[in-house]
Every structure is written in C-alpha cells, then in structure tokens.
C-alpha cells in the first residue's frame, strides 16, 4: 500500500510518499523563511504554499518513481494549524482525489508527529514529548488514544524561542531555533530566568517577556552577550520540559521517551533528556530535522495506518480546523493492545471514564469543567 501525504499547517509545505511498512519513497518540502525580526503570518504563508504545492507534488512523484494509479489513498493535515495554510493542501487533495479516483484520509498533525517518530526510531510505547513552534505537549498512549499528560498553558516552547530570535534579529534560515542553538554553544554566563512549571503544565510567555526586557537592558549595559542569553533560555525551558516528561513517565510507568516536533532536533534538548532517561534505566528516541520538522511523509504514513484499518474521510468532511486536540483521535491502528473503548467515547472525542483520567487533560471542555 502506498499513500501520498500533504502537510501545510505552518510555514512548511511538504509532500510525502510512503509505504505501510514506514519506508519513505519521497519527502520533499519547502519552507517559508521570513527576514530576521519577522515571523510568518497566515496570509503570506498561504500564498507561499499556493506557489510551491504543485511543483512539490511533481517532485515527489518523480523521486518516488511512481504514477498516480499506484497510490492507494491521499492524506492531508486536517489540523491543528493556521487556517489559510491548512486550506491550501486540502483544496489540492480534493481535486486530486476526484481526478485520480482515490479516497482521502484526514490526519491530526500531532498524532502524525508521534507515529512518524515511532516508526523511524522503532519506539514501541514511549512517553512522547511533542515540542514545536505551535505545540508543547507531553503525551502517552492509553486505552485507544494519545492522552495529553501535560502541556503549555500559553505559547509553545518553539514560539518562545522564535520570538526571542526576533528580538535579537537572529536569522530565520534554516530556522530561528537552529540558530539559537548554534549561538548558545558560545554562552558562558547563565542569566537567571523564571522557571515556570505548574503541576504537569508549563508556561513560556512570562519567560519570553522577561528575557525580552532583560536582553535589551543587559546587552545595552554590556552585562552579557547574546550567546549567554540563548544559552540561558535553552537551559531553562529545556529543564522545564525534562521535568514534566519525567513526571509523566512516573505516572504511567513507561521507561522510554520519544521527542518529536521541530524543537526535537535540538541536540541540547536531546542531551538533557538522555541524561534523565539513563538515570531511570530507559532509552531516548529522537530523530533529526528530516522527520522532526513538519513533513508530508508523516501525514502520509499516519493516514495510511488509519486507511489500512478501514478509515477514509468522505469528501464533505475534508475540511480543516485550527483546533484539533491530540486526544480527539481514536488511534484505531493501536487498538489491539487494549480493550475497545465505548462507542460514545469514539464519537464525541471526550473521555473521562478511565482511572487515570483525573490526571489528564482530555479535552478543552474537561479542563473548563474542572
């Protein structure tokens, strides 16, 4: 079985072609890179995707050396992400589905990161730290779903790093996070920053405001270097992430950790997590930017898993959505590991019956009612 996957939820447009065993036949992508000091905005990002999506489809088919008739299903990112950019991929997918007479499978972006990480690293049942520019979640699989054990209560860790890069006018090529990581290697002085862990959750917006103010003042007074600030920011926010990941491991009695998402390719984060895993007798699974960063193959692979279990998305449901919780998805392909969940559960995307549910953020409504 072969799937074609489209990812366009943020500033990357990617097309992937994969087989059910996880082998990747092609995975080209194009990134919208803004000038230093600027972030990517929805409309401009959508225009970027409109310009690059079709050439990428041609490139992927050519690289994989397949023709459209060999494809079994076409997968796309339903959400979460930015509305305009998400819609671009969905339009192309709907047209191709009708031209080629192939079924469509809608995919949750967060779940796709997890499944890509699992298949690339061979991690069976890890605690997952999903860290990117838009998301920060500690996730573990339990009873049919990927449950969120902890998450950011405001901005994502990658967004905190990106915004700080804008303050220092660091280049966004290839990504602001990568350039902060390189700069941080020369940091010597640790600048004390707020450390904000609230139970299983983390918060980054206050840290970002604090360092923004500190940066301008201390740099002007020559009290520290940009490298010191990058170093201090990384050490602080990564320590917070390692802490909540370790607590999730203790809660659900799992030994291994898988890091996915764009921030996951940060070597310093991997080092810190590795130390914690070793102390607990577990393993760290992490990948490089080819699979960590948003790509089409992760969407194709996750859609193909669902398709192989009889799932496809009717044309009228091939919409996109900016909000789409990781635990809204019933991971049917992992269903054999546990007893099936109730029918109502599957339909409503709300859980709460299982014993550990009190520890979990099962949905937005569940949080509101607590």
């Amino acid at each position: 079985m072969i799937a074609l996957g489209f990812e366009g939820s943020a500033n990357k447009i990617g097309i992937g072609i994969v087989k059910l065993d996880g082998s990747i036949l092609a995975n080209p992508r194009h990134t919208y890179i803004t000038p230093p000091g600027h972030g990517f905005l929805p409309r401009e990002t959508a225009l970027h995707h409109q310009e690059h999506v079709l050439p990428l489809v041609h490139a992927a088919l050519k690289e994989a050396n397949i023709t459209p008739d060999q494809i079994d299903c076409i997968c796309y990112t339903k959400g979460p992400g930015m509305g305009g950019p998400l819609q671009v991929a969905s339009i192309v997918v709907r047209i191709l589905s009708q031209l080629w007479k192939k079924p469509i499978v809608a995919v949750n972006h967060c779940v796709a990161h997890i499944e890509m990480g699992r298949v690339v690293c061979g991690a069976e049942d890890p605690v997952v730290l999903y860290v990117s520019g838009g998301n920060t979640q500690v996730i573990a699989y339990s009873e049919g779903r990927y449950r969120i054990f902890g998450e950011t209560i405001d901005i994502a860790v990658g967004n905190c790093l990106d915004r700080f890069a804008r303050v220092l006018k660091i280049s966004n090529d290839p990504s602001p996070g990568y350039n902060i990581e390189q700069l941080a290697k020369n940091g010597k002085e640790y600048v004390e920053l707020p450390y904000v862990v609230k139970g299983m959750d983390v918060s980054f917006s206050g840290i970002e405001s604090f360092i923004e103010e500190t940066a301008n003042r201390k740099l002007a007074a020559n009290e520290c270097t940009p490298a010191d600030l990058c170093f201090s920011l990384q050490e602080t926010v990564f320590a917070m992430l390692v802490e909540i990941t370790e607590r999730a491991m203790a809660h659900c009695d799992k030994k291994d950790v898988l890091i996915v998402g764009g921030v996951g390719c940060n070597i310093r984060l991997q080092q810190m997590m590795q130390i914690m895993c070793e102390e607990r007798g577990g393993r760290l699974y992490a990948t490089d930017d080819r699979y960590c960063v948003d790509n089409g193959a992760m969407i194709a692979y996750t859609g193909l898993l669902a398709f192989a279990h009889g799932h496809a998305t009717p044309m009228e449901d091939t919409t996109t959505t900016q909000r789409y919780r990781t635990d809204d998805v019933l991971a049917v392909w992992r269903g054999v590991e546990h007893a099936p969940v109730g029918k109502d559960d599957a339909v409503n995307g709300v859980s709460g019956k299982c014993g550990v549910a009190d520890l979990l953020h099962t949905s937005d409504t569940a949080i509101a009612s607590n």
């Binding site: 079709l54 339009i91 709907r94 031209l99």
Partner: protein, 116 residues
C-alpha cells in the same frame, strides 16, 4: 456603477467577473457573480465539489451559491457589507485559482504533457 474585475493570471483569462454595487446606497445587499469555463462538465463539477466543502466563515453576512451547466461553473455571492464581500471573494478566488491550476497540471489534458 458596475466594476469589472480583471484576472491577471493567464489561467483565469476566461473569468468574467462583475460586481454590482448599483443598489448599495438604497439596499444593503451587495452581489457579485462570475463564470469560469472548463473543458468539460466533469471538470467543472470537480471544482464545484472541491470549493463547496468549505462553508463561508460568516454565513449570516455572506452567502455563496454555485452551479454547473455544461463546462461552465457559475458562482455568485450575496453580502450585507462590502468589506465581508471583498474578504470572501478574495479568499475564494485564491482557492479557485489553486483548484484550476491543479486540474491544469494533473487533469486529463496534462497527461500527454507529462509523458511527452
């Protein structure tokens, strides 16, 4: 007063678009309609089905209808406010252009071009 929007992209040269603002002063209802010709009814329907999936974001302020006759896709907008009409029309045009380009590159006529 009738304004005629001209499509700059070559692939949309066959788009005829008129915005009727004549009644704007007396009636809050603004309309805008256009037609696009495709090589076949099947292709026109594919585009209509694709663009019908996404509903208008503010259905109480902007209404959109589409129909296919032969290879001709007709689209019309109705809105209470020029601002909403402009926003809806603009984002709809982006998606219409993208859908049409996808057909041009991967549709029936492109097969010969791709293998040539």
């Amino acid at each position: 007063m009738a304004a005629t929007a001209t499509a700059t992209r070559t692939e949309l040269e066959n788009v005829v678009s008129t915005i009727d603002e004549a009644k704007a002063k007396v009636d809050p209802e603004l309309t805008c309609s256009m037609q696009v010709e495709y090589p076949s009814e099947e292709l026109a329907r594919i585009v209509m089905v694709t663009l019908s999936v996404d509903a208008e974001l503010q259905p109480d302020k902007v209404a959109r209808t589409m129909e296919v006759r032969g290879g001709r896709l007709s689209i019309s907008f109705r809105a209470t406010d020029a601002r909403f009409l402009r926003a809806s029309f603009s984002s709809f045009m982006d998606m219409l252009v993208l859908a049409t380009r996808t057909i041009e590159e991967f549709g029936p006529s492109s097969i010969h071009a791709a293998s040539a």
